[in-house]
Symmetry: C2
Subunit: 325 residues, 2 copies
C-alpha cells in the first residue's frame, strides 16, 4: 500500500504520519511506501519500517499534483489548506490553495486514470447560521467565510468526481480540532485551543469571545481516527453523499474552562484573560451547536468521550503527561 | 444604465432582450446601452431605442470576460451555460463553461474594481434527493449531476464575492422552464417542454418518464420576470444568503397532459407517445416536489398561476395564438 499525504507538515498531518508509522498498516494492508508533501518538504518520521519520500512544493502550481500521483498512491489524504484566518486575510492565496489546489489534484488523478481513495478534510465552516440544535446531516451549507466557501466547493467536486468514477472520495467535515499543540497558527478559531494549551504551559491566554460561545471539538487523536476510518471504509456503504459531518464534543467556552479547572486546578484556569476581539467575533457570528453526525456515527466514526478526555489527550500526547500547575 | 447579458443567444436570453427592448428601462432607469454575448455573436434585436453591441466568444477563454466588463456594465445577467445533458456527456466542456466561465467573470469584475449587480441563473438541479414536500429554502444541496454541481459551486462563489464586497450578486434557482419554444436543446429535461410544444405543432412527442413524474415549472415569461426582479431588488433586503429558490408550478407529467387536453383538446394530447428512457431517468432519479420558495415570494418574485397559464403563454408568445388542433 502506497499512501500520499498533502499538508503532511501540518499538525494533523504529523500526527497521522506518527500513527501510520506506529501501525505499519492501513485497513489490514501493510504500508509499503509513504509520500509526504507540504509547501516545505516535511521531515521524514523516525522509525518507519517502510519507504518514506518527502517533497516540498505548491499544490496549486502546475505539474505539482501530477508529480504527486505519478506513482498512483492507493490512498491520498488531502490535508493541505490555508486556514480560515489567513484565507480571510489573503483572498487570492486562500482561493489558490483551498480551491485550485483541490481541482489540480482531482484533475491529476483523472489524467493518471486510476481511482484512489481520496480522503479530504472539510470543516464545520461549511455551515452558516442560525443553526438548529442539533445540526442534521442534511442541513444547508451557507458558509460565512472564504475558508468555508472553499470547503463547500471542494466537497462538491469530491462528490461529482466520485459519482463520475474518477476517484473514490470521502470528505470529512471536521469539528474544531482541540487542543492544537505548539505555536498558534493563523486559524481564527485558534483561541479554542490556546485557552487550554497556554495555561497548561504556564502562560497567559487571551479569550476573544464570551464564555457562552459554543463550539464542537475533536482531539487530534480522534481526528486521526476519523482519517483512518475514512481511508478504509467501504464506499458503497457511504453511497453518493460522500461528505460527512464528523462527531464532536459540543461545549461552551465556559465548559472548556470548567474542564480545565477540574483537571489542572484553579491556578491554571486563572491564566485565561478575557479580551473581546470584534474581528474574530465577525468571522464566527454564530454558535456552532451540536452536530448530529448521525451518518458518521452509524458508519463507525468515533468521537472523544467528553472535553475532559480532550484535555487529557493533550497532556498525554503533547506534554509528556506534565503541566505547569 | 448599461446592461451585459451572457448567453444572450439562448432562449431565455432572447426573451430577456425582447422584454428590455420593450421596456426601454430597468428598475425605472432608462437603458443607455446593452451588450449581448454568446459563443456566436447574437443578433441585435429590432427596435431598440438604445445602443446594442453584440460579441461572440468563449466566456471561459482568457481575456474574454475582461473584455466584457471593460466598460463596467451596471447590471450583468450571466446566463451562459452548457445544459444538463451536455454537461453530463462532455465533462470537460461542462466544467469549463459552467464553472470556469463564472470564475473568469467574477475575477474580471474584481480586477475591474467596481461592483455591478450580477444576476446568475442557478437551477433546482442543485437539489439531490429524496426531497421533502415542500422543499424548504434551507434544504441541503447534493446535486446528482455535473450540471447541478457546477451551479452549487457558482452559487458559493457568488455569495462569497458578494460578502467580500467584490460584486453585488443574486443567484436564482430556476425551476424547469416550460414551454421551451423552438428546437429541443440538449437539456435532459427537454421532454417537459416537448410533450407540450410538439403536439401543439402537430407533431408526435416522446415521453421518456412515467406520467407520475413530478417537476416544478415556470414559463419563460415568469423566468424573465424573475431576472428583472433580481436585477432591481435591494441587496440589503436579501441579506448574505444570495441564492434563492424561484417559485414554480409543481405538476406531474400526467397533470401537464391534462392541462394540454383542457386547452388544446384530446387530439393534441394524443400525440404524446410513452417510450421509457433509462438514461434520462438516471439523470433525474428523484421527483422534484414543490419548492417552498418562501424567501423569493416574500421578496416579490412572481410565479405563474398554474400549468394552464404556462401553456397559454406558449401559445400566445411563441405560436402567435394558434396551434394544430
Amino acid at each position: 500500500m502506497h499512501i500520499l499525504i498533502t499538508g503532511a507538515g501540518g499538525m494533523i498531518g504529523r500526527k497521522l504520519v506518527e500513527r501510520l508509522v506506529r501501525d505499519g498498516a492501513l485497513g489490514g494492508k501493510p504500508i509499503a511506501r509513504m509520500t509526504l508533501h507540504d509547501i516545505v518538504a516535511p521531515e521524514a518520521p523516525a522509525g518507519a519500517e517502510f519507504a518514506v519520500a518527502t517533497r516540498g512544493g505548491d499544490i496549486a502550481a502546475p505539474g505539482e499534483a501530477a508529480a504527486l500521483v505519478a506513482d498512483a498512491p492507493d490512498v491520498i489524504f488531502h490535508l493541505a489548506a490555508v486556514v480560515s484566518g489567513e484565507a480571510e486575510a489573503d483572498f487570492d492565496k486562500g482561493y489558490r490553495v483551498n480551491i485550485d489546489g483541490m481541482r489540480y489534484l482531482l484533475e491529476a488523478i483523472r489524467a493518471r486514470q486510476y481511482k484512489p481513495r481520496l480522503v479530504f478534510t472539510s470543516s464545520i465552516a461549511v455551515l452558516g447560521g442560525p443553526l438548529p440544535d442539533p445540526v442534521p446531516d442534511d442541513f444547508h451549507l451557507t458558509p460565512v467565510n472564504s475558508y468555508g466557501t472553499a470547503k463547500v466547493i471542494c466537497e462538491q467536486w469530491l462528490a461529482d468526481y466520485t459519482r463520475r468514477g474518477f476517484i473514490d472520495g470521502i470528505g470529512l467535515r471536521f469539528p474544531g480540532i482541540t487542543v492544537r499543540p505548539g505555536k498558534p497558527n493563523k486559524a481564527a478559531s485558534g483561541f479554542y485551543s490556546s485557552i487550554i494549551r497556554e495555561p497548561l504551559a504556564g502562560h497567559e491566554a487571551i479569550l476573544p469571545v464570551p464564555t457562552s460561545k459554543l463550539n464542537t471539538h475533536a482531539s487530534p487523536r480522534a481526528a486521526v481516527g476519523f482519517l483512518i476510518r475514512a481511508a478504509t471504509i467501504d464506499g458503497e456503504k457511504v453511497g453518493l453523499r460522500r461528505n460527512l459531518f464528523m462527531p464532536g464534543v459540543a461545549v461552551t467556552v465556559g465548559e472548556q474552562i470548567e474542564a480545565l479547572r477540574r483537571i489542572a486546578g484553579g491556578n491554571v484556569a486563572k491564566r485565561i484573560r478575557h479580551e473581546p476581539d470584534e474581528t474574530i467575533m465577525r468571522i464566527f457570528p454564530n454558535d456552532v451547536v451540536r452536530i448530529g453526525a448521525g451518518r458518521a456515527l452509524a458508519l463507525g466514526f468515533k468521537p472523544d468521550k467528553d472535553f475532559d478526555e480532550i484535555i487529557r489527550i493533550h497532556i498525554e500526547e503533547d506534554l509528556g503527561g506534565k503541566f505547569v500547575a
